[in-house]
Symmetry: none
Subunit: 212 residues, 4 copies
């Protein structure tokens, strides 16, 4: 195969390459500002090629979401089920896992993007909410309930507590992909964002300890 080859035939890997490129571009510029040609060029193809695999820009976006977001959750759920340590330790493990799999990866940028674009893609927002947000909440709720049942935590309202526990994660995600990029936005402490999350978790877990 000579260098003059205009393109390579790679039907089986193309979709993946395009989605990878799309993920990067979307995270970098947002949905509207990303041109199909940007994605194509980043994937090493020309502007028509993505349309061989995806109906339109929006479908590319959805495919990226599906590819990146749902799998992560399953891993955490599996971990939760086979865990036999304390609820406190399980929650800490959640945070560490999540940070490695999502928070510190482009996947996290996508999550931020979705929240930024809900107004333009209500359908997508709904999908993400159902497939990712709700299951994540339920997972944490179960740990919380178990901890309360076993006397490890005191009895707190589940709903609001779950949201309070998850808030720092979402906040960190947003932050990493917004103000963290400006001058001073990444504080000394945030050079290890996972550390911040674990510190925060500790703080909240203290608040969950049974009062004497």
């Amino acid at each position: 195969m000579t260098n003059a080859t205009r393109w390579q035939r790679k039907k089986d890997v193309r979709p993946g390459e395009i989605l990878d490129a799309a993920l990067t571009q979307f995270v970098e510029k947002g949905f509207r500002a990303t041109k199909l040609e940007d994605i194509a060029r980043a994937a090493g193809v020309t502007k028509g090629t993505p349309y061989l695999y995806f109906a339109n820009k929006e479908e590319i976006f959805k495919a990226v979401v599906r590819e990146t977001q749902v799998a992560n959750l399953s891993k955490l759920q599996a971990m939760s089920q086979q865990y036999d340590g304390s609820s406190r330790e399980l929650l800490r493990a959640f945070v560490e896992q999540w940070w490695q799999q999502v928070g510190a990866t482009p996947s996290g940028g996508l999550c931020k993007l979705i929240m930024a674009e809900t107004a333009n893609f209500p359908e997508l927002a709904q999908f993400y909410f159902n497939e990712v947000i709700l299951p994540a909440r339920q997972m944490v709720a179960q740990v919380l309930e178990r901890g309360i049942a076993q006397g490890e935590f005191r009895a707190v309202p589940i709903d609001t507590t779950v949201e309070t526990l998850l808030a720092p994660l979402i906040h960190q995600l947003i932050w990493t992909h917004s103000f963290a990029t400006v001058q001073g936005g990444r504080s000394a402490a945030e050079n290890d964002p996972c550390r911040v999350l674990l510190d925060g978790l500790d703080l909240m877990l203290n608040g969950l300890l049974p009062r004497d």
Copy 2:
């Protein structure tokens, strides 16, 4: 007030009316999806008029941010200085005030929008960070330090704790302007988002109590 006077006056308030309209439109649809004509119509003028006061759409966005954000903080700062109750109560008062002044207003939507658009408007993000985020952090840091000095809180790392305390506020902002609009996104608890914030604060304040 004569007709002539009213028109005279109109001339001076025009830019403000345009910015008000722009705020609403931007928050509702995002920067890209907002058409200049939308803004103009919402401001009661025609397509070309905004260009008499602003160089282009981007400048309108910047002006909206500058106009809207700075004022809010001063009130909270004033409250902080003249407060003589417990640090705990002051923090609770902060949250309530903030929710009323910012969180539940278009101003909050703008904050979310800025986070969504940081990549496209780094300069603007920097401005917002310097003028709003940093002062807010410092204010909370002061209360925290005071509380620790007075033995009301135990000695915790200031930086990370401040961020942990502020995270739920920003999270709530994001949420209100993203998933709150999808089916199920607004849970029963969230019908009173301020309640969620106060509950969360209580949880964290418990964690700040000195251990015996």
Copy 3:
């Protein structure tokens, strides 16, 4: 107003100019092959301007049809109502009128275009059929029935006769805008197509005479 004026403001006449240009272009090239920019240039504007007055290319097409086709019919109907000569003479007058108003004008080319494009625009075809074809048939049917009632014509089946009477007109339309343009397509006789139509009509009217 200097020569340097990039464009003229002519809100009230623009739509008409665009439709005129569109008629010419559509007749010349067909719907698909006509570019919006062709229409715009022919109308002396740039490609964005037509969209100030029409939603899209298809709407321009429909507007052209409405503007050109329906009015013609009304004139013929008016003529029919106030006519008091013989049915035979009325039919001859129809043909002459129609040729002047439709057959020999760009409007006739449009009629041909519609038939050519029915597959692509069923909705438009339906519109044209309802608004133009059916009324024209009814008009001729009435004359025929009157002629039979008054003993001027013998009793023939109305439906098929109407279609046979109209066929040469439609045929002439199609012909003028198709094969008439090729070498030899315009026969000596056809240099006066209206003559052909009237001769044909005479032939058919002879067939309608009561047999003795």
Copy 4:
């Protein structure tokens, strides 16, 4: 026939299969709206294959016309030569034959398509005119002249009469492939279009009878 033989044979008929498929597709959708891939799929081959036999889409169209049209006429001509009944009956036989061989077949749709596309394919229109239209006219002219010579018809101008006699056929063709598909376009009478043609012919033949 072995498998090998069948494949061998396949090679020879491929172009024909492609033209058959193209005929159907062109008639159904028109030239522009027919995608090469549609043709290929209908022919049971893939996208690139037609290009092994034809230079481009336009050449396929031309080939379709050349292949399809010429054969039809010969049969009618043969019939004309060996006919020894009345000219009137011969004309009736012509019409019936034509409707069966052309009018009611895709071949008729192609004729309509050519008329629709003359502007885009003048060369093709010329070919069709020379090879099909002119011979058909001459054939009818001969019958007419014979009928006049034998006193069966009165002396009418040949050219215009031929065109008048052929007009309903072309009209029917146009109609079948345009308005016949809309609501109401196919009238009760038209459920048997050949009937309409024969009725019309009778009408005209009455007009051709010698006046006493």
